[in-house]
């Protein structure tokens, strides 16, 4: 058995990874809830968010805005806004027009769009094939509690991630647009009969989900210190898995699923010999067990079979 401190440490690390996964997963689950589709380019939307954020940070640095307080708020705002709008565009081009055709068509269209996004970054971003170092703007240093190292940078990532999740929860539970999103997820036709504008609600859902993925992209950049144009593939698969184990269509399920996936990865690394090489194997094995024995997920009602 590894010492308790190691387990605690890995759990903390897992929660931090999990926050990023959860932010991606919430998008998957929102899109599925509202349109009954899996938006397979969502992982690349996450990657795009990181690149938009990086570009904004570099641009801000050119005009002299280098301090975290001056650079971070506008960088997050631009990343969320641009990525959110790209998400809405993706929905209008690849998802909504195909809503009435076979789910296979949506799968193909969104997979292809993901490829387009990836290749675009590769080709059009200067030296797009290389990993891009991400400016380290989060506070450095840290402290130790009971043998567990806590870095300020990680606490900041956790704080931003949870703030984003609480923000989305408030939007969904407390605002008119949130009510429209929930109503459409439960019964689109009845929602329209209450006066809900269906198209605008779907747009808002994709803006919200894609904006969250952008936050996740930037947090990922701060956490790993670099971003790469293929990061959306793993990010997408993990985000989708997290949404599935949480229960597709359920926002809280996506958050639980994301955190669970992160903790599974890091504790597997601690508990199993040579575990860090196998962490994804262990985590995805658990996902498969879920799909076999509890296909509706931890908190879900809609079955994944509907996809």
């Amino acid at each position: 058995m590894p010492p308790l401190e190691l387990l605690l440490q890995q759990t903390l690390n897992g929660v931090m990874l999990g926050v990023m996964y959860a932010l991606i997963a919430v998008g998957f689950t929102l899109f599925f809830g509202v349109l009954d589709v899996i938006h397979f380019s969502h992982g690349d939307i996450f990657m795009l968010g990181a690149f938009v954020g990086l570009s904004t940070l570099l641009g801000l640095a050119v005009v002299g805005l280098r301090t975290p307080l001056l650079a971070l708020p506008p960088a997050f705002a631009v990343a969320v806004l641009v990525t959110g709008l790209v998400g809405v565009g993706a929905e209008r081009v690849c998802v909504k027009p195909l809503a009435r055709s076979s789910p296979l068509m949506t799968l193909l269209a969104t997979l292809s769009l993901g490829l387009v996004l990836r290749e675009s970054v590769l080709i059009f971003y200067p030296r797009g094939a290389d990993p891009k170092p991400f400016p380290q703007l989060l506070p450095a240093g840290g402290f130790e509690v009971g043998g567990v190292a806590v870095r300020y940078e990680n606490l900041t990532i956790l704080a931003i991630g949870f703030a984003a999740m609480i923000g989305v929860d408030l939007v969904i539970r407390r605002t008119r647009m949130g009510a429209a999103i929930r109503a459409v997820a439960q019964d689109p036709e009845a929602a329209q009969m209450m006066g809900v504008n269906l198209d605008r609600t779907v747009d808002a859902t994709f803006f919200l989900g894609s904006g969250l993925a952008a936050v996740a992209g930037m947090l990922s950049g701060f956490y790993y210190g670099e971003i790469h144009f293929i990061m959306g593939i793993t990010g997408g698969v993990i985000g989708f898995s997290a949404a599935a184990i949480g229960g597709l269509g359920n926002v809280y399920g996506a958050i639980v699923g994301g955190l669970l996936f992160g903790v599974l990865q890091t504790t597997a690394a601690a508990l199993i010999p040579r575990g860090s090489e196998f962490r994804d194997v262990v985590a995805f094995a658990v996902v498969m067990l879920f799909l076999i024995f509890k296909p509706s997920g931890i908190l879900g009602e809609k079955s994944v079979e509907r996809v």
């Binding site: 008119r176 109503a183 019964d187 929602a191 209450m194 006066g195 504008n197």
Partner: protein, 234 residues
């Protein structure tokens, strides 16, 4: 107030409504009678803009609405108790009522409107924090009605509101529809229960296989051979 002029609606290759014309005057309680599959629900969906007619026109207060989208039509003062109630199952009673007022979202008199609905259906007040899915059929019918009233509609469409209700509840429901109409709301009631419907309606239309095959005052419909034969079984 509401007028359909030669409206035809199709689902793919199947024509469901054939040149339907009918009119409901302001303040009236009009009904549409017809057997299953006659196109009654399609007619409601067409009025609401959920499906678009392939020909003909629909007018509300003298303005053409058949090219508008559902939320725009609802915003003009139309509310519906849809077939099968269509409540939001994961929302509470109170949240469902809030959805009924979605067009204005948080009107200043929201509490007053909600309390008015609670006074009509005291059971809903007891269950306000309960999710709609866990309620009995009768309670769901009340909630669907209350939800439709939350927008203070000028025109209320009711699609088989009595379906699946116990006779005593059906009695109450028809009394309530009549009361709503008498308080000034125009009502268009789609029903299979011809006997009860013709007791409260001013006039009505008969729909068969997507066509209007009869129209007239409730009194004349009650006496018509067609209605007696097809619906009243006398």
């Amino acid at each position: 107030m509401l007028e359909l002029r030669e409206v035809s609606t199709r689902y793919g290759p199947i024509t469901v409504l054939r040149s339907v014309s009918l009119a409901v005057g302001a303040g009236q309680l009009a009904c549409l009678l017809g057997p299953n599959g006659a196109g009654k629900t399609t007619l409601i969906r067409t009025i609401l803009g959920i499906v678009r007619p392939v020909s003909g026109s629909i007018w509300l207060d003298g303005a053409r609405i058949d090219r508008l989208r559902p939320h725009q039509i609802v915003a003009r003062g139309v509310a519906v108790v849809p077939e099968g109630r269509r409540l939001f199952p994961k929302m509470t009673v109170e949240e469902n009522l809030r959805m009924g007022a979605f067009i204005e979202w948080a009107p200043a008199d929201f509490a007053a409107r909600r309390d008015h609905v609670f006074s009509l259906f005291p059971r809903l007040a007891e269950r306000r924090r309960q999710s709609a899915a866990t309620m009995s059929g009768g309670e769901q019918a009340m909630l669907a009605m209350g939800r439709a009233l939350m927008s203070r509609p000028r025109l209320l469409l009711l699609d088989e509101p009595s379906l699946g209700l116990a006779p005593v509840l059906v009695e109450q429901l028809f009394a309530m529809v009549q009361a709503i109409n008498q308080s000034g709301t125009t009502v268009f009631l789609v029903e299979q229960n011809a006997r009860k419907t013709l007791e409260i309606a001013h006039h009505g239309f008969l729909l068969q296989k997507g066509e209007v095959v009869g129209a007239g005052s409730a009194e004349s419909l009650r006496r018509s051979e067609l209605v007696r034969h097809a619906y009243l079984r006398t």
